[in-house]
Symmetry: C2
Subunit: 236 residues, 2 copies
Amino acid sequence: MLTPIPVTELSRMKHQPPLAARSEQLAPRMQTSEPEAFLPASVPMNFGRNAEIYAEDETAGYVYKLISGVVRISKLLPDGRRQISAFHLPGDMFGFEVGDLHHASAEAVGSVKVVAFKWHSLLSATASNDFVHELLNRTMIGLRQTQDHLLLLGRKTALERLAAFLLELAERSGQDSQDSVLDLAMPRHDIADYLGLTLETVSRMFAELKENGTIRLESARRVHMINMDKLKAMAA
Amino acid sequence: MLTPIPVTELSRMKHQPPLAARSEQLAPRMQTSEPEAFLPASVPMNFGRNAEIYAEDETAGYVYKLISGVVRISKLLPDGRRQISAFHLPGDMFGFEVGDLHHASAEAVGSVKVVAFKWHSLLSATASNDFVHELLNRTMIGLRQTQDHLLLLGRKTALERLAAFLLELAERSGQDSQDSVLDLAMPRHDIADYLGLTLETVSRMFAELKENGTIRLESARRVHMINMDKLKAMAA
DNA sequence: CGTGGTTTTGAGCCCCTTCAACCACCGTGG
DNA sequence: CCACGGTGGTTGAAGGGGCTCAAAACCACG
Protein backbone atom coordinates (compact mmCIF):
# COMPACT_ATOMS: atom_id res chain seq x y z
CA MET A 1 0.00 0.00 0.00
CA LEU A 2 1.20 3.42 -0.86
CA THR A 3 2.39 5.58 1.95
CA PRO A 4 1.34 9.18 1.48
CA ILE A 5 4.42 11.27 0.88
CA PRO A 6 4.57 14.74 2.38
CA VAL A 7 4.50 17.55 -0.11
CA THR A 8 8.05 18.06 -1.28
CA GLU A 9 9.85 20.42 -3.55
CA LEU A 10 7.55 19.33 -6.33
CA SER A 11 4.78 21.24 -4.68
CA ARG A 12 6.67 24.42 -5.39
CA MET A 13 6.64 23.73 -9.10
CA LYS A 14 5.50 26.63 -11.21
CA HIS A 15 2.14 25.04 -11.77
CA GLN A 16 1.13 24.92 -8.19
CA PRO A 17 -1.72 27.42 -8.13
CA PRO A 18 -1.80 30.17 -5.51
CA LEU A 19 -4.90 28.97 -3.81
CA ALA A 20 -3.44 25.55 -3.25
CA ALA A 21 -2.17 26.98 -0.01
CA ARG A 22 -5.34 26.16 1.84
CA SER A 23 -5.26 22.54 0.74
CA GLU A 24 -2.23 21.14 2.48
CA GLN A 25 -3.92 17.99 3.52
CA LEU A 26 -2.46 14.65 2.66
CA ALA A 27 -3.77 12.56 -0.16
CA PRO A 28 -6.35 9.98 0.83
CA ARG A 29 -5.01 6.52 1.34
CA MET A 30 -5.49 4.04 -1.39
CA GLN A 31 -6.63 0.49 -0.96
CA THR A 32 -5.79 -1.05 -4.29
CA SER A 33 -3.18 -3.19 -5.97
CA GLU A 34 -2.86 -0.58 -8.67
CA PRO A 35 0.38 0.37 -10.39
CA GLU A 36 1.58 2.81 -7.81
CA ALA A 37 1.82 -0.07 -5.37
CA PHE A 38 5.17 -0.99 -6.89
CA LEU A 39 6.24 2.37 -8.21
CA PRO A 40 8.86 4.81 -7.00
CA ALA A 41 8.43 8.37 -5.85
CA SER A 42 4.85 9.60 -5.83
CA VAL A 43 3.86 13.14 -4.89
CA PRO A 44 0.39 14.30 -3.87
CA MET A 45 -0.64 17.62 -5.39
CA ASN A 46 -3.68 19.86 -5.18
CA PHE A 47 -5.10 22.22 -7.74
CA GLY A 48 -7.82 24.84 -7.52
CA ARG A 49 -10.58 25.61 -10.00
CA ASN A 50 -9.27 26.15 -13.54
CA ALA A 51 -5.67 25.65 -12.43
CA GLU A 52 -3.36 24.35 -15.12
CA ILE A 53 -1.84 20.96 -14.32
CA TYR A 54 0.27 21.00 -17.44
CA ALA A 55 0.22 22.92 -20.69
CA GLU A 56 0.35 21.91 -24.33
CA ASP A 57 3.94 21.72 -25.65
CA GLU A 58 5.31 21.75 -22.12
CA THR A 59 7.96 19.17 -21.25
CA ALA A 60 6.26 16.07 -19.93
CA GLY A 61 7.90 14.84 -16.78
CA TYR A 62 5.12 13.33 -14.75
CA VAL A 63 2.22 10.95 -14.95
CA TYR A 64 -0.81 11.78 -12.83
CA LYS A 65 -3.34 9.63 -11.10
CA LEU A 66 -6.53 11.46 -10.26
CA ILE A 67 -7.66 11.07 -6.65
CA SER A 68 -10.62 13.43 -6.52
CA GLY A 69 -12.23 16.07 -8.69
CA VAL A 70 -12.49 16.30 -12.47
CA VAL A 71 -9.75 17.14 -14.98
CA ARG A 72 -10.25 18.30 -18.55
CA ILE A 73 -7.77 17.57 -21.36
CA SER A 74 -7.96 20.13 -24.15
CA LYS A 75 -6.32 21.51 -27.25
CA LEU A 76 -6.56 25.04 -28.62
CA LEU A 77 -6.47 26.43 -32.13
CA PRO A 78 -4.51 29.66 -32.66
CA ASP A 79 -7.74 31.67 -32.81
CA GLY A 80 -9.00 30.32 -29.51
CA ARG A 81 -11.32 27.57 -30.60
CA ARG A 82 -11.04 24.79 -28.05
CA GLN A 83 -11.71 21.07 -28.11
CA ILE A 84 -11.85 19.08 -24.90
CA SER A 85 -10.80 15.53 -25.71
CA ALA A 86 -11.58 13.99 -22.34
CA PHE A 87 -12.83 14.54 -18.83
CA HIS A 88 -10.95 12.48 -16.28
CA LEU A 89 -12.66 11.15 -13.16
CA PRO A 90 -11.08 9.80 -9.96
CA GLY A 91 -9.05 6.68 -10.64
CA ASP A 92 -8.02 7.76 -14.14
CA MET A 93 -4.40 8.27 -15.09
CA PHE A 94 -3.28 10.93 -17.51
CA GLY A 95 -0.23 12.84 -18.67
CA PHE A 96 1.76 10.09 -20.37
CA GLU A 97 2.86 11.02 -23.85
CA VAL A 98 4.85 9.69 -26.75
CA GLY A 99 7.77 12.04 -27.20
CA ASP A 100 8.81 14.41 -24.46
CA LEU A 101 6.20 17.13 -24.86
CA HIS A 102 2.62 17.23 -23.64
CA HIS A 103 0.37 17.14 -26.65
CA ALA A 104 -2.60 18.75 -24.91
CA SER A 105 -3.16 20.69 -21.72
CA ALA A 106 -4.71 19.44 -18.49
CA GLU A 107 -6.70 21.69 -16.17
CA ALA A 108 -8.63 21.22 -12.97
CA VAL A 109 -12.37 21.70 -13.51
CA GLY A 110 -12.97 22.16 -9.81
CA SER A 111 -10.82 21.34 -6.83
CA VAL A 112 -8.56 18.45 -7.74
CA LYS A 113 -6.26 16.07 -5.93
CA VAL A 114 -3.75 14.02 -7.90
CA VAL A 115 -0.71 11.92 -7.26
CA ALA A 116 2.19 12.64 -9.58
CA PHE A 117 4.77 10.03 -10.62
CA LYS A 118 8.06 10.63 -12.29
CA TRP A 119 7.50 9.36 -15.80
CA HIS A 120 10.87 8.04 -16.85
CA SER A 121 11.32 5.99 -13.74
CA LEU A 122 8.15 4.15 -14.59
CA LEU A 123 9.52 2.70 -17.78
CA SER A 124 13.10 2.14 -16.68
CA ALA A 125 14.68 -1.22 -17.13
CA THR A 126 13.82 -2.13 -13.58
CA ALA A 127 10.17 -1.27 -14.03
CA SER A 128 7.79 -4.13 -13.86
CA ASN A 129 6.59 -5.66 -17.06
CA ASP A 130 3.17 -5.71 -15.47
CA PHE A 131 3.15 -1.96 -15.35
CA VAL A 132 3.83 -1.69 -19.06
CA HIS A 133 0.94 -4.03 -19.67
CA GLU A 134 -1.25 -1.95 -17.40
CA LEU A 135 -0.24 1.21 -19.20
CA LEU A 136 -0.88 -0.41 -22.57
CA ASN A 137 -4.28 -1.49 -21.37
CA ARG A 138 -5.21 1.98 -20.13
CA THR A 139 -3.96 3.55 -23.34
CA MET A 140 -6.00 1.17 -25.45
CA ILE A 141 -9.09 1.93 -23.39
CA GLY A 142 -8.45 5.62 -23.89
CA LEU A 143 -8.07 5.06 -27.61
CA ARG A 144 -11.36 3.21 -27.76
CA GLN A 145 -13.19 5.99 -25.89
CA THR A 146 -11.62 8.59 -28.15
CA GLN A 147 -12.75 6.69 -31.25
CA ASP A 148 -16.28 6.63 -29.86
CA HIS A 149 -16.03 10.35 -29.41
CA LEU A 150 -14.99 10.74 -33.05
CA LEU A 151 -18.30 9.17 -34.05
CA LEU A 152 -20.13 11.56 -31.76
CA LEU A 153 -18.36 14.66 -33.10
CA GLY A 154 -18.44 13.62 -36.71
CA ARG A 155 -21.93 12.25 -37.06
CA LYS A 156 -24.30 12.95 -34.18
CA THR A 157 -26.78 15.78 -33.73
CA ALA A 158 -26.65 18.20 -30.82
CA LEU A 159 -29.40 16.38 -28.95
CA GLU A 160 -27.75 13.00 -29.49
CA ARG A 161 -24.46 14.40 -28.26
CA LEU A 162 -25.87 15.70 -25.01
CA ALA A 163 -27.80 12.49 -24.37
CA ALA A 164 -24.64 10.46 -24.98
CA PHE A 165 -22.67 12.76 -22.69
CA LEU A 166 -25.09 12.39 -19.80
CA LEU A 167 -25.13 8.62 -20.24
CA GLU A 168 -21.35 8.49 -20.36
CA LEU A 169 -21.06 10.47 -17.14
CA ALA A 170 -23.75 8.41 -15.43
CA GLU A 171 -22.06 5.18 -16.38
CA ARG A 172 -18.58 6.31 -15.45
CA SER A 173 -19.68 7.58 -12.08
CA GLY A 174 -21.58 4.39 -11.40
CA GLN A 175 -25.08 5.83 -11.60
CA ASP A 176 -26.88 3.64 -14.04
CA SER A 177 -30.08 3.03 -12.18
CA GLN A 178 -33.32 4.78 -13.03
CA ASP A 179 -33.96 8.19 -11.50
CA SER A 180 -30.34 8.64 -10.46
CA VAL A 181 -28.92 12.06 -9.76
CA LEU A 182 -25.96 13.34 -11.70
CA ASP A 183 -23.82 16.20 -10.41
CA LEU A 184 -22.05 17.96 -13.23
CA ALA A 185 -18.65 19.23 -12.18
CA MET A 186 -18.19 21.32 -15.30
CA PRO A 187 -19.91 24.46 -16.65
CA ARG A 188 -21.90 24.55 -19.90
CA HIS A 189 -18.96 25.99 -21.75
CA ASP A 190 -16.82 22.94 -20.98
CA ILE A 191 -19.61 20.59 -22.00
CA ALA A 192 -19.93 22.54 -25.24
CA ASP A 193 -16.21 22.28 -25.99
CA TYR A 194 -16.33 18.56 -25.27
CA LEU A 195 -19.32 18.01 -27.55
CA GLY A 196 -18.21 20.31 -30.35
CA LEU A 197 -21.12 22.72 -29.79
CA THR A 198 -21.69 26.20 -28.39
CA LEU A 199 -22.79 26.68 -24.81
CA GLU A 200 -26.09 28.13 -26.01
CA THR A 201 -26.86 24.99 -27.97
CA VAL A 202 -25.97 22.86 -24.96
CA SER A 203 -28.38 24.89 -22.85
CA ARG A 204 -31.11 24.53 -25.46
CA MET A 205 -30.59 20.77 -25.63
CA PHE A 206 -30.87 20.56 -21.85
CA ALA A 207 -34.18 22.35 -22.18
CA GLU A 208 -35.28 19.93 -24.88
CA LEU A 209 -34.40 16.91 -22.77
CA LYS A 210 -36.34 18.50 -19.94
CA GLU A 211 -39.41 18.97 -22.12
CA ASN A 212 -38.98 15.42 -23.38
CA GLY A 213 -39.37 14.21 -19.86
CA THR A 214 -36.06 12.35 -19.94
CA ILE A 215 -34.34 14.51 -17.37
CA ARG A 216 -35.20 17.01 -14.66
CA LEU A 217 -32.94 19.88 -13.68
CA GLU A 218 -32.86 20.40 -9.95
CA SER A 219 -30.32 23.10 -10.71
CA ALA A 220 -28.12 23.77 -13.70
CA ARG A 221 -25.48 21.37 -12.38
CA ARG A 222 -27.75 18.75 -10.82
CA VAL A 223 -29.50 16.46 -13.27
CA HIS A 224 -32.10 13.83 -12.45
CA MET A 225 -32.12 11.04 -14.97
CA ILE A 226 -35.83 10.26 -15.18
CA ASN A 227 -36.00 8.01 -18.21
CA MET A 228 -32.68 6.31 -18.84
CA ASP A 229 -34.02 4.05 -21.59
CA LYS A 230 -35.38 6.99 -23.53
CA LEU A 231 -32.05 8.75 -23.11
CA LYS A 232 -30.25 5.73 -24.50
CA ALA A 233 -32.59 5.65 -27.47
CA MET A 234 -31.90 9.31 -28.10
CA ALA A 235 -28.12 8.91 -27.96
CA ALA A 236 -28.34 7.05 -31.31
CA MET B 1 8.70 10.13 -21.99
CA LEU B 2 8.61 6.99 -23.90
CA THR B 3 11.69 6.80 -26.00
CA PRO B 4 10.78 5.62 -29.46
CA ILE B 5 11.56 1.94 -29.61
CA PRO B 6 13.80 1.09 -32.53
CA VAL B 7 12.08 -0.82 -35.22
CA THR B 8 11.94 -4.37 -34.04
CA GLU B 9 12.11 -7.61 -35.87
CA LEU B 10 8.43 -7.25 -36.53
CA SER B 11 8.96 -4.21 -38.64
CA ARG B 12 11.74 -5.77 -40.60
CA MET B 13 9.76 -8.74 -41.68
CA LYS B 14 9.72 -9.28 -45.36
CA HIS B 15 6.36 -9.48 -46.88
CA GLN B 16 5.38 -12.89 -47.98
CA PRO B 17 4.33 -13.88 -51.47
CA PRO B 18 0.62 -13.36 -52.03
CA LEU B 19 -1.63 -16.18 -51.03
CA ALA B 20 -5.33 -16.60 -51.50
CA ALA B 21 -7.42 -14.21 -49.45
CA ARG B 22 -8.16 -15.38 -45.93
CA SER B 23 -5.62 -18.15 -46.33
CA GLU B 24 -5.56 -20.54 -43.46
CA GLN B 25 -2.15 -21.94 -44.03
CA LEU B 26 0.90 -21.04 -42.03
CA ALA B 27 3.48 -18.69 -43.36
CA PRO B 28 6.58 -20.14 -44.93
CA ARG B 29 9.70 -20.13 -42.84
CA MET B 30 11.38 -16.81 -42.32
CA GLN B 31 14.89 -16.19 -43.42
CA THR B 32 16.03 -15.12 -39.97
CA SER B 33 15.36 -17.03 -36.83
CA GLU B 34 14.42 -14.05 -34.67
CA PRO B 35 10.86 -13.37 -35.76
CA GLU B 36 9.47 -16.73 -34.94
CA ALA B 37 10.94 -16.46 -31.49
CA PHE B 38 8.02 -14.29 -30.44
CA LEU B 39 5.86 -14.10 -33.53
CA PRO B 40 4.72 -17.64 -34.02
CA ALA B 41 2.05 -17.73 -36.66
CA SER B 42 2.15 -15.00 -39.26
CA VAL B 43 -0.17 -15.30 -42.22
CA PRO B 44 -0.07 -13.18 -45.39
CA MET B 45 -3.52 -12.25 -46.62
CA ASN B 46 -4.95 -10.32 -49.54
CA PHE B 47 -8.18 -8.36 -49.77
CA GLY B 48 -9.95 -6.82 -52.70
CA ARG B 49 -11.65 -3.44 -52.94
CA ASN B 50 -14.13 -2.86 -50.07
CA ALA B 51 -13.46 -6.31 -48.64
CA GLU B 52 -14.05 -6.58 -44.92
CA ILE B 53 -10.93 -7.48 -42.95
CA TYR B 54 -12.86 -7.67 -39.73
CA ALA B 55 -16.23 -6.41 -38.53
CA GLU B 56 -17.34 -4.45 -35.50
CA ASP B 57 -18.25 -6.73 -32.56
CA GLU B 58 -16.50 -9.65 -34.21
CA THR B 59 -14.14 -11.72 -32.05
CA ALA B 60 -10.67 -10.24 -32.29
CA GLY B 61 -8.10 -12.95 -32.86
CA TYR B 62 -5.47 -11.30 -35.02
CA VAL B 63 -3.31 -8.25 -35.28
CA TYR B 64 -2.57 -7.01 -38.78
CA LYS B 65 0.42 -5.31 -40.26
CA LEU B 66 -0.34 -3.49 -43.49
CA ILE B 67 2.04 -4.30 -46.34
CA SER B 68 0.44 -2.44 -49.22
CA GLY B 69 -2.78 -0.58 -49.96
CA VAL B 70 -4.97 1.50 -47.66
CA VAL B 71 -7.30 0.30 -44.90
CA ARG B 72 -10.16 2.26 -43.34
CA ILE B 73 -11.31 1.80 -39.74
CA SER B 74 -14.93 2.76 -39.23
CA LYS B 75 -17.93 2.65 -36.95
CA LEU B 76 -21.59 2.75 -37.94
CA LEU B 77 -24.67 4.13 -36.23
CA PRO B 78 -27.86 2.04 -36.44
CA ASP B 79 -29.28 4.36 -39.11
CA GLY B 80 -26.24 4.04 -41.32
CA ARG B 81 -24.28 7.16 -40.46
CA ARG B 82 -20.61 6.25 -40.62
CA GLN B 83 -17.48 7.70 -39.07
CA ILE B 84 -14.06 6.63 -40.32
CA SER B 85 -11.64 6.98 -37.43
CA ALA B 86 -8.46 6.27 -39.36
CA PHE B 87 -6.90 5.42 -42.68
CA HIS B 88 -3.99 3.03 -42.36
CA LEU B 89 -1.02 3.18 -44.71
CA PRO B 90 1.65 0.53 -45.36
CA GLY B 91 3.72 -0.11 -42.24
CA ASP B 92 0.82 0.57 -39.87
CA MET B 93 -0.49 -2.07 -37.52
CA PHE B 94 -4.13 -2.40 -36.59
CA GLY B 95 -6.64 -4.77 -35.10
CA PHE B 96 -5.44 -4.94 -31.49
CA GLU B 97 -8.20 -4.33 -29.01
CA VAL B 98 -8.84 -4.21 -25.32
CA GLY B 99 -11.30 -6.97 -24.61
CA ASP B 100 -11.95 -9.74 -27.07
CA LEU B 101 -14.19 -7.97 -29.58
CA HIS B 102 -13.29 -5.63 -32.38
CA HIS B 103 -14.62 -2.23 -31.53
CA ALA B 104 -14.72 -0.99 -35.13
CA SER B 105 -14.58 -2.58 -38.54
CA ALA B 106 -11.63 -2.63 -40.93
CA GLU B 107 -12.07 -2.67 -44.70
CA ALA B 108 -9.76 -2.55 -47.67
CA VAL B 109 -10.07 0.72 -49.57
CA GLY B 110 -8.41 -0.75 -52.65
CA SER B 111 -6.33 -3.88 -53.07
CA VAL B 112 -4.65 -4.66 -49.78
CA LYS B 113 -1.89 -6.97 -48.57
CA VAL B 114 -1.51 -7.59 -44.85
CA VAL B 115 0.27 -10.00 -42.56
CA ALA B 116 -1.89 -11.36 -39.74
CA PHE B 117 -0.49 -12.40 -36.36
CA LYS B 118 -2.22 -14.36 -33.69
CA TRP B 119 -2.98 -11.83 -30.97
CA HIS B 120 -2.69 -13.98 -27.87
CA SER B 121 0.73 -15.26 -28.69
CA LEU B 122 2.03 -11.72 -28.95
CA LEU B 123 1.27 -10.81 -25.36
CA SER B 124 1.95 -14.14 -23.71
CA ALA B 125 4.24 -14.28 -20.73
CA THR B 126 7.07 -15.35 -22.97
CA ALA B 127 6.53 -12.50 -25.39
CA SER B 128 9.31 -10.02 -25.87
CA ASN B 129 9.23 -6.98 -23.65
CA ASP B 130 10.40 -4.99 -26.63
CA PHE B 131 7.30 -5.93 -28.52
CA VAL B 132 5.04 -4.73 -25.73
CA HIS B 133 6.91 -1.44 -25.70
CA GLU B 134 6.57 -1.19 -29.44
CA LEU B 135 2.86 -1.86 -29.20
CA LEU B 136 2.46 0.71 -26.43
CA ASN B 137 4.34 3.23 -28.51
CA ARG B 138 2.17 2.61 -31.56
CA THR B 139 -0.99 2.80 -29.47
CA MET B 140 0.05 6.10 -27.92
CA ILE B 141 0.83 7.51 -31.36
CA GLY B 142 -2.59 6.38 -32.50
CA LEU B 143 -4.18 8.04 -29.50
CA ARG B 144 -2.40 11.29 -30.22
CA GLN B 145 -3.55 11.27 -33.84
CA THR B 146 -7.09 10.49 -32.78
CA GLN B 147 -7.08 13.40 -30.33
CA ASP B 148 -5.92 15.68 -33.12
CA HIS B 149 -8.80 14.38 -35.17
CA LEU B 150 -11.20 15.27 -32.36
CA LEU B 151 -10.13 18.89 -32.69
CA LEU B 152 -10.69 18.70 -36.42
CA LEU B 153 -14.17 17.20 -36.12
CA GLY B 154 -15.26 19.33 -33.21
CA ARG B 155 -13.97 22.74 -34.17
CA LYS B 156 -12.74 23.08 -37.75
CA THR B 157 -14.59 24.30 -40.83
CA ALA B 158 -15.06 22.15 -43.93
CA LEU B 159 -12.24 23.92 -45.76
CA GLU B 160 -9.87 23.57 -42.82
CA ARG B 161 -10.70 19.89 -42.56
CA LEU B 162 -9.90 19.13 -46.16
CA ALA B 163 -6.68 21.15 -46.03
CA ALA B 164 -5.62 19.28 -42.90
CA PHE B 165 -6.50 15.98 -44.51
CA LEU B 166 -4.39 16.61 -47.58
CA LEU B 167 -1.47 17.73 -45.42
CA GLU B 168 -1.79 14.65 -43.24
CA LEU B 169 -1.74 12.34 -46.24
CA ALA B 170 1.16 14.20 -47.83
CA GLU B 171 3.19 14.00 -44.65
CA ARG B 172 2.40 10.39 -43.94
CA SER B 173 3.27 9.29 -47.46
CA GLY B 174 6.48 11.26 -47.32
CA GLN B 175 5.54 13.95 -49.82
CA ASP B 176 6.22 17.19 -48.04
CA SER B 177 8.08 19.04 -50.74
CA GLN B 178 6.49 21.77 -52.80
CA ASP B 179 4.51 20.75 -55.88
CA SER B 180 4.33 17.11 -54.85
CA VAL B 181 1.69 14.81 -56.27
CA LEU B 182 -0.73 13.03 -53.99
CA ASP B 183 -2.63 9.95 -55.12
CA LEU B 184 -5.80 9.50 -53.14
CA ALA B 185 -6.64 5.85 -52.64
CA MET B 186 -10.14 6.57 -51.33
CA PRO B 187 -13.31 7.97 -52.92
CA ARG B 188 -14.94 11.25 -51.87
CA HIS B 189 -17.43 9.40 -49.75
CA ASP B 190 -14.68 7.93 -47.57
CA ILE B 191 -12.98 11.30 -47.22
CA ALA B 192 -16.33 12.76 -46.19
CA ASP B 193 -16.89 10.09 -43.54
CA TYR B 194 -13.39 10.67 -42.23
CA LEU B 195 -13.85 14.44 -42.05
CA GLY B 196 -17.40 14.41 -40.71
CA LEU B 197 -18.83 16.00 -43.88
CA THR B 198 -20.92 14.96 -46.87
CA LEU B 199 -19.29 13.95 -50.11
CA GLU B 200 -20.82 16.97 -51.81
CA THR B 201 -19.18 19.33 -49.35
CA VAL B 202 -15.85 17.58 -49.83
CA SER B 203 -16.17 18.05 -53.56
CA ARG B 204 -17.00 21.73 -53.11
CA MET B 205 -14.01 22.24 -50.84
CA PHE B 206 -11.76 20.62 -53.43
CA ALA B 207 -13.11 23.14 -55.90
CA GLU B 208 -12.44 25.96 -53.48
CA LEU B 209 -8.84 24.86 -52.89
CA LYS B 210 -8.46 24.67 -56.66
CA GLU B 211 -9.71 28.22 -57.09
CA ASN B 212 -7.47 29.32 -54.24
CA GLY B 213 -4.52 28.11 -56.24
CA THR B 214 -3.33 25.84 -53.45
CA ILE B 215 -3.92 22.60 -55.32
CA ARG B 216 -4.47 21.39 -58.87
CA LEU B 217 -6.57 18.36 -59.70
CA GLU B 218 -5.00 16.29 -62.44
CA SER B 219 -7.92 13.95 -61.91
CA ALA B 220 -10.34 13.49 -59.02
CA ARG B 221 -7.88 11.15 -57.28
CA ARG B 222 -4.61 12.84 -58.25
CA VAL B 223 -3.82 16.06 -56.41
CA HIS B 224 -0.93 18.41 -57.10
CA MET B 225 0.08 20.34 -54.01
CA ILE B 226 0.96 23.70 -55.50
CA ASN B 227 1.23 25.89 -52.42
CA MET B 228 1.97 23.84 -49.34
CA ASP B 229 2.51 26.85 -47.07
CA LYS B 230 -0.87 28.29 -47.97
CA LEU B 231 -2.44 24.90 -47.32
CA LYS B 232 -0.84 24.79 -43.89
CA ALA B 233 -2.15 28.25 -43.13
CA MET B 234 -5.62 27.15 -44.15
CA ALA B 235 -5.60 24.04 -42.01
CA ALA B 236 -5.85 26.31 -38.93
C1' DC C 1 -20.78 2.90 -77.28
C1' DG C 2 -23.65 1.66 -73.18
C1' DT C 3 -23.34 1.02 -68.25
C1' DG C 4 -22.54 1.62 -63.43
C1' DG C 5 -19.87 3.95 -60.12
C1' DT C 6 -17.98 8.29 -58.95
C1' DT C 7 -17.67 13.24 -58.99
C1' DT C 8 -19.36 17.75 -59.80
C1' DT C 9 -22.63 21.36 -59.66
C1' DG C 10 -27.05 23.63 -58.50
C1' DA C 11 -31.02 25.19 -55.51
C1' DG C 12 -33.35 25.36 -51.27
C1' DC C 13 -33.50 24.49 -46.59
C1' DC C 14 -32.38 23.60 -41.72
C1' DC C 15 -29.68 22.96 -37.67
C1' DC C 16 -26.65 25.19 -35.22
C1' DT C 17 -24.16 29.52 -34.55
C1' DT C 18 -23.85 34.36 -33.60
C1' DC C 19 -25.19 38.24 -31.31
C1' DA C 20 -27.67 40.09 -27.67
C1' DA C 21 -30.43 40.66 -23.66
C1' DC C 22 -31.90 39.03 -19.43
C1' DC C 23 -31.91 36.24 -15.28
C1' DA C 24 -30.31 33.41 -11.24
C1' DC C 25 -27.14 32.69 -7.88
C1' DC C 26 -23.71 34.03 -4.43
C1' DG C 27 -20.17 36.00 -1.71
C1' DT C 28 -18.80 40.75 -0.38
C1' DG C 29 -19.14 45.04 1.76
C1' DG C 30 -21.58 49.44 2.69
C1' DC D 1 -30.16 43.89 5.18
C1' DC D 2 -29.77 44.98 0.72
C1' DA D 3 -26.95 46.93 -3.07
C1' DC D 4 -23.40 45.31 -5.82
C1' DG D 5 -20.46 42.89 -9.14
C1' DG D 6 -19.18 38.65 -11.25
C1' DT D 7 -19.80 34.23 -12.90
C1' DG D 8 -22.71 31.19 -15.08
C1' DG D 9 -27.10 29.99 -17.40
C1' DT D 10 -31.20 30.75 -20.20
C1' DT D 11 -33.77 32.53 -23.96
C1' DG D 12 -34.73 35.09 -28.32
C1' DA D 13 -33.94 36.60 -33.22
C1' DA D 14 -31.48 36.41 -37.28
C1' DG D 15 -27.99 34.58 -40.26
C1' DG D 16 -24.99 31.20 -42.37
C1' DG D 17 -22.34 26.93 -43.29
C1' DG D 18 -23.09 22.61 -44.48
C1' DC D 19 -26.87 19.29 -45.65
C1' DT D 20 -30.51 17.39 -48.67
C1' DC D 21 -32.35 16.55 -52.89
C1' DA D 22 -31.63 16.47 -57.67
C1' DA D 23 -29.46 16.22 -62.07
C1' DA D 24 -25.77 16.31 -65.05
C1' DA D 25 -20.93 15.19 -66.19
C1' DC D 26 -17.15 12.26 -66.00
C1' DC D 27 -14.67 7.96 -66.34
C1' DA D 28 -13.14 3.22 -66.39
C1' DC D 29 -14.41 -1.00 -68.32
C1' DG D 30 -17.40 -4.44 -70.63
